[in-house]
Amino acid sequence: MTAQPAIHYNSSSRQLQFSGDWELANLPRLQTMLAKLSLPNSGEIIFNGEAIGRMDSAGAWQIIELKKQLEAKGAKVRLQNFAEESVKLLKIVDTKLNEEGDLPAIKKPNPIAKFGYQTVVQLRELQTYLAFVGQLTFEFLRLVFMPANWRWNSLAAVIYRTGWQALPIIALLSFLIGVVLTYQMGLQLRNYGANIFIVDLLGLSVLREFAPLITAIMVSGRTGSAFTASIGMMKLNQEIDALDTLGVTPAELLLIPRIMGLFIALPLLTMWSDIFGVLGGIVTSNNMLGITWYDFLRRFPQAIPLRSFLIGIGKAPVFALIISSVGCFQGMQVKNSAESVGQNTTKSVVLAIFFIIVADAIFSIIFSKMQL
């Protein structure tokens, strides 16, 4: 389709003959040919463009590049017999190349500076997060006294999406956790013939730790990420700015309904998870340890104090606040690009899970000090 380009040097007439199509597609081949060519470093060299078929800006760039290289070595270059359009193109490329400065150098910071920079960035982010939480608290206090501004519809939608729609997956997950725990603990208990104590072990671990933790982790993956992504997209789309200019604070319409919604939904989900975790335990102990449903349920209230259930449920609102505030905060931190939505969503989930586990550890210490 395109004529093969070629380049040939005639040393007696000091002419460099160009031929064929000098186009982008042929450029790599031309560059190899040029590399093999030995050209004099001094005197006048004539570039003869008579036989050039077509030339695009990439071809022109290559010719100008070659001319510059030769001139840098001390030779003189003269262009001859180029078509009118080619001359125009060459001229434009030449002036543009001269105008265009070098790329500004990118400074690479040394590791210590990088470490310091990162530390400052993290501390700043912590500060902004605290400011965000403070601002939300003020907004919340302002709204408490203005029931007319409560967004019941948004609240209901959030509870529906984060609570109701999560029921099946939480049920399945908790059931499986119940099965796994019972199986592992049952193996040990059976060695001592202490089968019935599975009720104590399972009940305490599921109600106090597993149900709140598993639910919170699941919800932060499911809901925290959704909060960040949806708020982030609204930020990119300037919807948040639009709300601000319309005299409705984003906190009132978007953030507080999400936070309150999850605050209500997560304890309920945790209770749901309690039920299915224990159910998983009952089924497995029935099959594996020979404890009937009747035996299990008769021992359950004797072995498990109400306190354990309340402690488990009591953690859920704290986890809910962590998930929703981190999710909303990261959403509001989205800047400029689609890339940043992805980064902040990742951050939101990772940070939420991290803080959930930290909070859970703190709870454990407090409860053991209080001997609960």
């Binding site: 186009e23 982008l24 597609a25 450029l27 790599p28 560059q31 695009d56 800006s57 990439a58 760039w61 590049e65 359009e85 125009k88 193109l89 434009i92 490329v93 543009k96 190349l97 105008e99 265009e100 400065g101 070098d102 790329l103 500004p104 990118i106 800047k335 400029n336 690009s337 689609a338 890339e339």
Partner: protein
């Protein structure tokens, strides 16, 4: 350049529909080699849909679209790729990749479709960024750090980096201030004359239409109502066309450029 009248795009009896609504009813349009063709029409007349169909981002219900003499509605991915390498597209919202710097954005097509070394790729990309009227300082920035006009220019640099024969511009001057828009018009004309491009531009900008285009296709009622040069088009008696150009803005633009044509 041997045959000025050679058709680079031929659209015959194109029928497209979006979500049940018929957009084009047997639309015919030819684009000649080396010309700047404007596509205009009221809102919802199917300008962008037509462009998307030509770019094969949307499959028409029936009809034929031939680009460089090849049918693209039924083209194999391989043929399509060959055509895609020969055209450049500037989207309305620039569509610069936000995770890459401007330079990386412009180098991207070179990296995908040529076997050039890193240095040549960078130099060529820089040349195109320069041709689009941007400095090297802008090249290392991310799209989000550039102003709207600079993003447009960046998008144009990416569109011309493979030295295309055919350039599609979707609302190139939309969202630019009049001065930047005028500069952009100059730039398009400049590129067209130096690189010998065929340009298809969808635009609402009456100034651009007068200044840049050779012929203008007016879309209405799902067909091309008329294809002619601006001075002829504004005299067209079709009520839709009269309504479009007859307003105060249309007349002002006509007075500004009418004498030069």
């Amino acid at each position: 350049m041997k045959n000025q009248q050679e058709n680079i795009i031929e659209i015959k009896n194109l029928i497209t529909s979006l979500g049940g609504a018929v957009i084009h009813k047997k639309l015919n349009l030819n684009v000649k080699k080396g010309e700047v063709l404007g596509i205009v029409g009221g809102s919802g007349s199917g300008k962008t849909t037509l462009l998307r169909a030509i770019l094969s981002l949307l499959k028409p219900d029936s009809g034929s679209i031939r680009i460089f003499g090849k049918e693209i509605t039924t083209a194999s991915p391989k043929t399509l790729l060959e055509i895609q390498k020969r055209w450049g597209v500037l989207f309305q919202s620039n569509a610069l990749f936000s995770s890459l710097t401007l330079l990386e954005n412009v180098m991207f097509p070179l990296k995908e479709h040529t076997h050039l070394n890193e240095k040549s790729r960078r130099d060529l990309a820089l040349l195109k960024i320069g041709l689009a009227g941007l400095s090297a300082e802008a090249a290392v920035k991310y799209p989000a750090e550039l102003s709207g006009g600079m993003q447009k220019r960046g998008g144009l640099a990416r569109a011309i980096v493979l030295d295309p024969e055919l350039l599609f511009l979707d609302e190139p001057t939309a969202g630019l201030d009049p001065e930047t828009a005028a500069g952009f018009d100059e730039l398009i004309l400049n590129l067209q004359s130096t690189m010998g491009l065929t340009i298809v531009m969808v635009t609402h900008d009456l100034d651009s239409l007068w200044k840049v285009t050779n012929r203008v296709a007016f879309l209405g009622d799902g067909v091309v109502l008329s294809v002619e040069s601006m001075p002829e088009l504004v005299k067209n008696k079709n009520p839709l066309i009269q309504e479009f150009f007859g307003g105060p803005r249309g007349r002002a633009a006509e007075e500004g450029y009418g004498h030069k044509h």
